[in-house]
Amino acid sequence: MADPTLPPDRAGLAAELALGLLEGPDRAEALRLCLSDPDFAAEVEAWGHRLSPLLDATPQHLPSHRVWNAVEARIADRPSTGQVRSLRLWRGGAIAAGAIAASLALVLVIPRPAPEGAQTVGVSQLADAQGGATMAISYDPQAGVLRLGPNGLQSGTKSPELWIIPEDGVPRSLGLIGADGGKLAVEARLRQFLRDGMTLAITLEDPATAPHKAPTSIPILTGKISII
């Protein structure tokens, strides 16, 4: 299952994170490891599978109707029709797995600011639906900087461009990203969009004219931001 070569300390930390024992800086550090160390992430997930039968015996309780009503309201997604043509195309692409290179699940973790101004670091992970390519991103909301892992997405004369798509369905360019990853400063006006439920996407574009007002191609990677 998980890589047996994980050093004992890391294996112990993975077990502690899976159990939910960690808090504060220890938890932030373990969440960071989830992104930078695939073996570590696999071990945390493996613990979830091992322990989940314990949840079987939790007594059931009926929630009130307000829960579903609230869920329904929150998933209602009605961007104005004039703006969503390209987004529809994108969504169509994201759903038909064969139409794009990979469909990514993006998880962006932004811990609440700790008291006394302790450092706040967000981390995120991109993994494709086939469990193949993964791409790690961390976001520091204080500095407004995204840190991107290597992605190898360079393709001939085209370069990967990262987009954020908020509720209005209009993609906004966050800028070009290097095939080797690196840092990407997010423009102040775009930082408000880096939050739960927003879509991120990567298209291949002409680097000479970037950043672009709109994407010219179907994204090769897409994912929703989920703040855990």
């Binding site: 024992l21 091992r50 949840l55 015996a57 929630p63 829960v67 759903i95 855990i228």
Partner: protein, 205 residues
């Protein structure tokens, strides 16, 4: 077990087969509702909700210890399911395990953002029995559960107690040390050794 020949149909076997078939049907229904959800169909999510909300609410309630908070967490859980349904992989986890872990993790996250908890809440929660049999066909992971419980029973009682209380109660190390009136260092060693032992027993070590 599903392929038992008709000749085997002694009562016990027949009952087991009916239950298994219910479990399989329930699982298949949930998987197809998740697929529908992944395609962006809200009726799929509604179906997932109908099949699992009582179960997931029980988990949120158990860990948060607060009905109102548990309903807020449950809301977040189904919004997460809506967004992540496409990443569900039937080959890696049963659908209910996948959902249960999302609910548990969301409840743990909620607790980690809260200040200190009322100790009475935790004590009350820890008295909830963990061994109650479940009629719900969806929850049948009998084999996995039996194996896990047997491995937990094989551990030092203090180790298994610490693991159960943590996983089901959402405690931090500090809280666990307080509940068990044991120094933090000792607790950490119980957890790490216990988890290592558990992994070896489950055959993943």
């Amino acid at each position: 077990m599903y392929s038992c020949s008709v000749g085997d149909a002694a009562n016990g076997v027949a009952v087991a087969r009916i239950v298994d078939s219910d479990a399989q049907n329930a699982r298949a229904r949930l998987v197809s509702a998740l697929h529908l959800t992944a395609s962006g169909d809200r009726s799929g999510l509604r179906h997932v909700y109908d099949l699992t909300s009582a179960k997931l609410f029980g988990i949120c309630l158990r860990i948060s210890g607060d009905r109102e908070a548990a309903e807020d967490i449950l809301q977040d859980v189904y919004v997460k399911v809506w967004r992540r349904a496409a990443s569900f992989d039937e080959g890696l986890a049963s659908p209910i395990s996948w959902l249960a872990m999302i609910a548990r993790n969301a409840a743990i996250d909620w607790r980690r953002t809260q200040a200190r908890h009322d100790a009475a809440d935790d004590d009350a929660l820890c008295t909830v029995a963990d061994g109650a049999p479940l009629a719900d066909a969806l929850m049948q992971q009998d084999e996995a559960r039996r194996r896990l419980l047997s491995c937990l029973d094989g551990l030092d009682i203090r180790q298994s107690d610490a693991i159960r209380r943590t996983f089901l109660g959402g405690l931090t190390y500090q809280e666990l040390a307080e509940r068990m009136a044991t120094p933090l260092g000792t607790i950490k060693s119980w957890i790490r050794r216990g988890m290592q032992g558990l992994k070896e027993c489950l055959g993943d070590g």
